[in-house]
Amino acid sequence: MTTATMGPKVKPKLGRDDWAQRSFMLVIGLYLIIALALPLWAMLSKAFSTYYFDLGQYEVQVSDAEGIFGPVQNLADLDLPPEFEDLSTNTNGRLGITKLFPDFSFRSPVNYRFRGVSSDAVFLVGSERNTGPEWIELDSNTFRRVVLRPETERGISNFVTYFSTPALFQSVQNSLLIAAITTVITVALAFWFAYALARSKMHLKGVFRMVAMLPILVPSLLPGIALLYLFSPRQGMLKALMFGYDINGPIGIVIGSVFFTFPHAMIIISTALSISDARLFEASISLKASRWKTFWTVTIPGARYGLFSAAFVVFNLVITDFGLPKVIGGNFNMLAVDIYKQVIGQQNFEMGAVVSMVLLAPALLAFGIDRRMQKKQVALLTARSVVYEPKPNPLVDWGFFAYSTLVAIFMVGIIAVSQFAALIRQWPYNLSFSLSNYDFSRMDGGGWGSYTNSLTLAISTAIIGTVVVFLGAYMVEKTNGFERGRAVFQGLAMLPMAIPGMVLGIAYIFFFNNPSNPFNFMYGTMAILVVSTVTHFYTVSHLTAITALKQMDGEFESVSQSLKQPFYKLFWRVTVPVSLPAILNISIYLFVNAMTTVSAVVFLYSTDTALASVAVLNMNDAGDIAPAAAMGMMIFYTNAGARILHALLSKRILARSNAWRSGS
């Protein structure tokens, strides 16, 4: 080839903008690495770590009453009591040395000499750390303060334990089953609801659309509480409807899951239906196909990627949800709850990490398939598609109206029952209304402080998150060169969607609670809650920002550079103002989710940073169900208020920018 005549490669001289942009990207890339990649890595290594006491590392010499020392004995060679056959433990395991000496008495006049075999062997005398083969002589009263720390071993034995423990393994089956059932029900319900909105002339469409979005504003715990009020076997208002079945367990989880996943499915399917091409319907009608045939040959194929996508999103939400099964699961174990039980209940962090890995598998799978579906859906859209305009058909329209009303009653009913629960003095004995359940200072769970903490978290998340996400998306979308760095960044930005909140939370414990981590100071502060929440909800925000930026002319940057203007001038004067609606959408999304989220933060809050959503969980756990409902409603009011504010603000901004957005 003539390639031989090509001269030396041109090395770009980087301008000031290039350096500034690269440092920005580095900072935000580092953020994602610290807030996401490293914690996940810490969790991964934890899942493959086991801990045991390596007695062979230590030697002891015991004297008689006269102070004459006997032979040097290795601890492993001692004649040990039977409970020491299994020396496995967990990270925090500590072995008091005297347990190995059944006839030890701290009053005996005997002296001990103790040492490690090598400098790797570590043991504590009280809080003092000792290593190495230097003999230390101790009287018996001090000897009882000698404590061994566990050794780490890499391997899959945690997984072996997990899969050979039926009680744990059962959860996999339970989670898959519940997620599958909920997916089928939610997608079917949401499809007909979205269909009614897109393809019929029924009345009150706006109201129905709004009502269907209500579940997004409350934590997933709240429908659980409402369902308990409605159907609990002893005191439920409508317990007769259960025909003797217990709402606690799979039935309750499914009903509640349908409630909180409905809006997500509805949005995705609505989008899919709204972009179907009207010309296909006209063609079908002109070919004299029946409504039924048109439905199966045009509507369903057109929306199929939307349906698949909705199914995977719902599946993912259910299998990773923690709040609902915690409240209404009864003895029915699910994976997400297992993580909580392992970590909070039994302090078994390694097993928590293993369950997290198990939970990660279906979540990653669903995420991967969903991404592929979304890409295909976009390809179906052509610029020349014509929007479908439904024609009135009284019978069908009123049918859909009746159906949508039923769905709306379900949505509003759950919220109304929660509100009712919050206001009743003591169900079912004292039915008078009072605000006493809102007096959170009388309950455990952090009181009103937890509510203000949640507000702080939500506002910080909205502000910091929006800035980080938008800058990150801008760097990925609008800068030149540095392709590999941008690709890595994009990958990292997509990752959080596949990571269940519980998994992120436990990963944060492993990473940030490590005393040798320089970021350890964040542990137990509001900062770690903000970081975890921003990270947890990063992907959707990132995609929103990317979409907005993609709609902007790609040559703005080129023009600005040719006019020798710095990139930040273009960013402030054009990019940000033009993207303002998307920026507002990102911040409200982050705010609402920060108010309702439980999953990641439940592992990370401290007594000073208790949160409203966690308070709902804890009060419910403590049996204070009415105050839990009241706190859930506080979250609802706040989110509803924030959404109204957001709507007003968006409207004002659109009105002000109307001149340049629409022309004329």
Binding site: T2, T3, T5, M6, G7, P8, K9, V10, K11, P12, K13, L14, G15, R16, D17, D18, N480, D553, E555, F556, S558, V559, S560, Q561, S562, L563, K564, Q565, R573, V574, P577, V578, S657, A659, W660, R661, S662, G663, S664
Partner: protein
């Protein structure tokens, strides 16, 4: 004509651009003279936009040097080069008024506000839109927006103006009007200009010189007339204007098409060639002579100012030739479908290019 050769403003030497394994530009060397209007012309994917973006520094070339006004700018970022650019999409900032768009590059701490204002007014006047300064881009027509984009690009008096298919998004009428306007403006300002286009008419009517590109290489550089009259390759001949292409064999100054020997312009080729002639060079004649043929009109298409006829020659074993006849000629010779006539293929216009019978 000046006899001293004009100064070279832009010098491109042995430029290459690879996208992975794909070579988008190969061995490009080119000189652009001071104050000239140069067009990169070629089909989509020929590398013309890639070359323009390399000149701008927006997408750096893989290898090769670019010298602008005596300065090596090969590896400089766009902000350290000296050019204004106009894109097909206009790329006007939608949320800024026309005035703010034009003054975007003028604003800096040292320049007084009044001076900026005066310059913006002057530019608006120059592009013929003096009253539109307070409007937003979306409130203007496409042609107006493109003129604003032009004003913004020349606001800072750059030494080089780059136009990336600036007229392609416009209606046919506006496009023809703006062609003239842009050319006029360029002449008035004397600014060295490089324009990318896939529209040969645009290139022929606007450019001082045209660079015809194909598959990442330069096929020919020349004035519009040179390119049209004397294409350097079969690709250029075919891409610019209409061209008959007839398999033939060449020997010295003779070219033989299906047993008919004629005198032709063979460029020193021998053996299998493609003989070419433009439809307008096929002349209806009344008497037989050098290079005349008897042909039958198979069909005729009226194209407004002339007729395009499909001719077949029995002598040449049914070879088909396209010819353009003026309305006058058609009337005078009573040409119509099925009629037979004599045509001449003038020897200096009958040109051969390498290539065999397909």
């Amino acid at each position: 004509m000046l006899d001293s050769s004009p100064a070279i403003y832009l010098r491109i030497e042995n430029l290459w651009k690879n996208f992975g394994v794909f070579t988008a530009l190969r061995e490009i060397s080119l000189e652009v003279f001071d104050g000239e209007f140069l067009c990169f012309l070629g089909p989509s994917g020929c590398g013309k936009t890639t070359l323009l973006r390399a000149i701008a520094g927006l997408d750096l070339q893989t290898a090769g040097t670019i010298e602008q006004s005596g300065r090596d700018v090969s590896n400089l970022p766009p902000s350290e080069r000296d050019f204004g650019i106009v894109f097909q999409s206009y790329a006007l900032f939608p949320n800024l008024t026309i005035e703010k768009n034009i003054s975007y590059g003028l604003e800096n701490a040292k320049r007084p506000k009044a001076e900026i204002k005066a310059r913006v007014a002057e530019l608006l006047e120059l592009v013929g839109l003096p009253e539109q300064g307070k409007k937003y881009p979306a409130q203007l027509s496409g042609g107006q927006q493109q003129r604003i984009a032009l004003a913004r690009a020349i606001a800072t008096n750059p030494g080089l103006l780059l136009l990336d298919e600036p007229l392609s998004a416009l209606d046919a009428k506006v496009r023809i009007f703006l062609r003239h306007e842009v050319k006029e403006l360029q002449r008035k300002l004397g600014i060295t200009t490089v324009m990318v286009t896939h529209d040969q008419e645009e290139a022929l009517s606007m450019a001082d010189r045209i660079v015809v590109m194909n598959h990442g290489t330069i096929e020919q550089v020349g004035t519009p007339l040179e390119i049209y009259r004397d294409p350097a390759s079969l690709f250029v001949a075919d891409f610019i204007g209409a061209m008959n292409q007839i398999p033939a064999s060449a020997a010295d100054d003779k070219v033989t098409i299906a047993n008919v020997e004629m005198r032709g312009n063979n460029n020193g080729l021998n053996g299998d060639v493609i003989a070419t002639i433009r439809p307008e060079d096929v002349l209806p004649v009344e008497q037989a002579g050098e290079n005349t043929l008897e042909v039958v009109i198979r069909s005729m298409e009226f194209l407004g100012s002339f007729f395009r006829a499909q001719l077949t020659s029995a002598e040449m074993g049914g070879t088909e030739i396209e010819a353009d006849f003026s309305i006058n000629a058609v009337r005078r010779l009573e040409l119509k479908k099925g009629a037979s006539l004599l045509v001449q293929l003038p020897a200096e216009r009958l040109k051969s290019f390498p290539g065999g019978i397909k």
